[in-house]
């Protein structure tokens, strides 16, 4: 099967400082890839550069479109970038407050992407919003409530519903469970695993937590100092880490 995303020699520099350096990988349809690393390893920079939120300093990202043609993201203008972000991709931020519209109801949050795509039937929008609330385990009776009245875990589930409602082909997730209680985290990870399978989503998820990678991702990349130091099947990396840094990460997981 042909790749959905092809990343080659990708770098992003903040002035003289390296954000990420010379990263290459392929992502296939239906695949969930985890990028693991500590804070400052460049994993979030890489995610944002791949998702065209940051401009690449060098290297390329190519996206395989539905019509079988390849789109070079370096050549995309602002209008094209926004169309892609709105219609084909999704982005889940670490803090749900950054990804939600806090001054409108939960239902409007879920329905916004559908309205942006031109859906103009209120009854239908509302029915879909309720259906998605149910799918992310939020009581549909809360469809008119403000997200500010939700707990942190509920807000994150609402952001997931808002992102997935248009059935994007590719979703980027930046530490979607960081900062939440462990039990809340587990529930969201279960939910993500289920939805990714049901929808056949391709996803790139950034996490500092190897346990998250083990639960969700068949394949994992380990980053340190802006570079990928090890990449492979998640189970192999966890059971038989090759790079000293990965070995350190794995041993610290096992001891906590």
């Amino acid at each position: 099967m042909s790749a959905l995303l092809q990343v080659r020699g990708l770098s992003h520099h903040y002035g003289q400082r390296v954000g990420c350096q010379d990263v290459s990988f392929d992502l296939h349809p239906g695949e969930l890839l985890c990028i693991v690393g500590e804070s400052g390893s460049g994993k979030s920079t890489l995610l944002k550069t791949v998702a065209a939120q940051l401009t690449a300093s060098s290297g390329s990202v190519r996206y395989h479109q539905r019509d079988d043609s390849w789109l070079d993201l370096n050549e995309l203008d602002e209008a094209g970038r926004r169309r892609l972000a709105r219609e084909e991709w999704g982005f889940v931020t670490q803090n749900p407050r950054d990804g939600l519209r806090l001054n409108v109801s939960a239902g409007a949050n879920v329905a916004e992407r559908l309205m942006a795509k031109g859906m103009r039937n209120y009854g239908q929008l509302r029915a879909i919003a309720k259906g998605w609330l149910e799918r992310v385990e939020i009581d549909p009776a809360r469809v008119d409530d403000a997200p500010t009245s939700f707990s942190g875990g509920m807000q994150q589930r609402l952001q997931i519903a808002r992102t997935l409602v248009t059935q994007p082909r590719l979703v980027f997730m930046d530490e979607p469970t960081a900062g939440l209680d462990v039990s809340v985290q587990a529930r969201i990870l279960d939910l993500l695993r289920r939805l990714v399978n049901e929808l056949g989503l391709a996803a790139v998820m950034v996490t500092h937590d190897l346990a998250v990678a083990r639960l969700l991702a068949a394949r994992t990349m380990v980053m340190q100092g802006g570079r990928v130091v090890e990449t492979g099947l998640t189970d192999q990396i966890l059971d038989d880490p090759q790079h000293p840094y990965t070995q350190l990460l794995v041993s610290s997981v096992l001891t906590t």
């Binding site: 209008a79 409108v104 109801s105 239902g107 409007a108 309205m115 103009r120 039937n121 209120y122 509302r126």
Partner: protein, 279 residues
């Protein structure tokens, strides 16, 4: 005409700058054109944007009408009319049909307008997306890309909260199928009058330094949902002065016992109807 001021108060360079901006606005219907707003002898909120546009438009042969909420006799309307009478010497009128330029706050006259008339709106907030998106750079991008899903989020919220689209003033419109535009705080009752109007419609926001236009016969669509179509206000009463059943009515409290009267908000229209011999 007094010699204390340049004709129409503003200097000729300023008027030229305004006319250029107006031409651009007419060329791109609904697009907000920035302009160098001048200090006017009235505070913001009193129609300084509309006044600057009117000043740039008026010639010695024009006949000016000024209305505020449909009435010619409010303090605001009287002050602006007097101001222009003094600095231009042009004739003024209260009759819609006699005016060549009508400056208005919050209404469109009931009397149908003609091709040889210009309506100038006073606009407090030109950006229809502002309450939803406070960042100016972002709203500009949304306009550039015609990315207007956000406006429907607002209408969705209305229906979710009130069971219907509760927005009744400043109801958002799409001009010429392209630019999302604020019609200024007119009642949505007046929105259908914007669509394919024979008269040129100009909008001026002094504080925000923006002007825009709806040229004659431009298609203007009020946004809505398929299952919640756009509707205008209706009254069960008729005007208790002229008997009109299809004009915009104001509810007037007539005494301290709460007695109420429904009368036309357009005072000229109401007066003309009462002056007509009964048919």
């Amino acid at each position: 005409m007094t010699s204390d001021y340049n004709f129409a108060f503003l200097d000729e360079n300023t008027k030229r700058m305004l006319r250029r901006a107006l031409l651009k606005a007419v060329a791109i219907p609904g697009y907000q054109v920035p302009f160098g707003s001048r200090e006017m002898p009235l505070p913001y909120g009193w129609g300084t944007g509309g006044i600057q546009l009117t000043a740039a438009l008026l010639g010695p042969d024009d006949v000016l009408k000024v209305i505020d909420q449909g009435a010619d006799d409010t303090t605001n309307a009287v002050n602006i009319r007097r101001f222009f009478a003094r600095v231009t010497g042009v004739a003024t009128t209260e009759r819609t049909s006699e005016a060549s330029v009508i400056q208005t706050r919050h209404r469109i006259p009931e009397t149908p307008l003609r091709e040889d008339q210009i309506l100038v709106f006073q606009v407090p907030e030109p950006e229809p997306l502002r309450t939803l998106e406070p960042r100016e750079a972002e709203t500009r991008t949304l306009h550039a890309l015609a990315d207007y899903g956000l406006m429907h989020v607002k209408l969705y919220e209305d229906i979710a909260q009130y069971g219907h689209i509760a927005t009744s003033y400043d109801y958002p419109v799409l001009v010429d199928g392209r630019f999302l535009t604020s019609p200024s705080p007119i009642p949505k009752f007046d929105n259908p009058k914007l669509d394919r109007s024979p008269a040129l419609m100009l909008f001026g926001a002094g504080r925000e330094k923006r002007l825009y236009a709806i040229p004659p016969y431009t298609h203007v669509e009020s946004l809505a949902f398929d299952d919640h179509p756009f509707e205008i206000q209706r009254w069960e009463q008729q005007c208790q002065l002229c008997g009109s059943g299809d004009s915009y009515l104001d509810e007037v409290v007539t005494d301290d016992r709460g007695s109420r009267l429904f009368v036309c908000s357009d005072t000229d229209y109401c007066g003309q109807r009462r002056a007509e011999p009964a048919a």
